[in-house]
Symmetry: C2
Subunit: 111 residues, 2 copies
DNA sequence: GCTATTGTGAACCACATCGTTAATTAACCG
DNA sequence: CGGTTAATTAACGATGTGGTTCACAATAGC
C-alpha cells in the first residue's frame, strides 16, 4: 500500500469491521474487548484492526490499568471530506445536467 | 478485500496513481495512453488500475475504434461524502470544544 | 493484406493483508 | 505469591495487490 497519509486513511476505511469500530467509537471511548464484542473474529484480529486505525491517525489509545481505551480521532476524516468535496460538482446533479446540455449543443453543431 | 460497495470504493481510492487518474478525468475524457503518460509504470499496470476504478464504479469506458476513452463516474464519491459527513461534528472544532467543556464540568462535579 | 497503434490477457514475482492459534506481557486482586 | 483479566506479539497460511514482461486481439491506414 502507498504510504502517503490519504492513501493510508482510505485503506484503513476500506474494511467494514474497521468502519463499524469507528461508528462504535463515535458513541464514546471503548476498550478492546468492548469493541471486539459484536464481531465473530478473534481478539488478535481486532487488535490488528486497531493498529491499522491508529497508524492512520483515526484513533488514539490511552492506558488505564490493564485496559487500553480507544478514542475516535476524526481529523483524517476531515481530509477525506476535503478531498472528496473537490468532486462534488460531478455527482450532485447540476453538473450532470450541464454536461448533457453541452453534449446536446455539440451534437447540434455537428449536424 | 471486503466486497461491499463502500469498501470497494475506499480501496480503489487508497492509491495515489488511481486518485491522480480521477483528477485527470475530472478535466474530461481520456484514453488509456493519455492517462498513462504522467506515470513511470507500464501500460498494463495502468490497465489494471482502470479495472479497479471501473469495478468500483468510479469510471466507465467507451469504445471508439482502437481507443477506450474513460469517463469519470462520481456517484460512488457521493456515497463516500455521505458516509464521512456523519462524522463531521468530530473534526470541525465545535465538538472538540463541547467535549472539553463536558470533561471540565465532570471534573468540577467530581471535586 | 501488411504494418503500426492501442489496449488487454496471461504468467509470474515480491510483498501486504486478514485471519488463525499459542505464547507472552501487564496489571489487578485475594 | 498465585490466579485472573486485558491485550499484544509471534508464527503461520490463504489470498489479494501492484508491478513486470511477453504475447495477443482489434482497428486504422497505406
Amino acid at each position: 500500500m502507498a504510504d502517503d497519509a490519504l492513501s493510508t486513511t482510505f485503506a484503513a476505511l476500506a474494511d467494514p469491521t474497521r468502519r463499524a469500530i469507528l461508528a462504535r467509537l463515535a458513541g464514546g471511548e471503548a476498550t478492546v474487548t468492548e469493541l471486539a464484542e459484536p464481531f465473530a473474529v478473534s481478539l488478535p484480529a481486532i487488535s490488528k484492526h486497531l493498529k491499522v486505525l491508529e497508524k492512520a491517525g483515526l484513533i488514539t489509545r490511552g492506558r488505564t490499568a490493564q485496559w487500553r481505551p480507544c478514542r475516535l480521532e476524526a481529523r483524517p476524516l476531515g481530509e477525506v471530506a476535503d478531498w472528496v468535496e473537490e468532486y462534488r460538482r460531478f455527482w450532485d446533479g447540476s453538473f450532470d445536467r450541464l454536461a448533457e446540455h453541452l453534449r446536446a449543443v455539440q451534437e447540434g453543431e455537428a449536424r
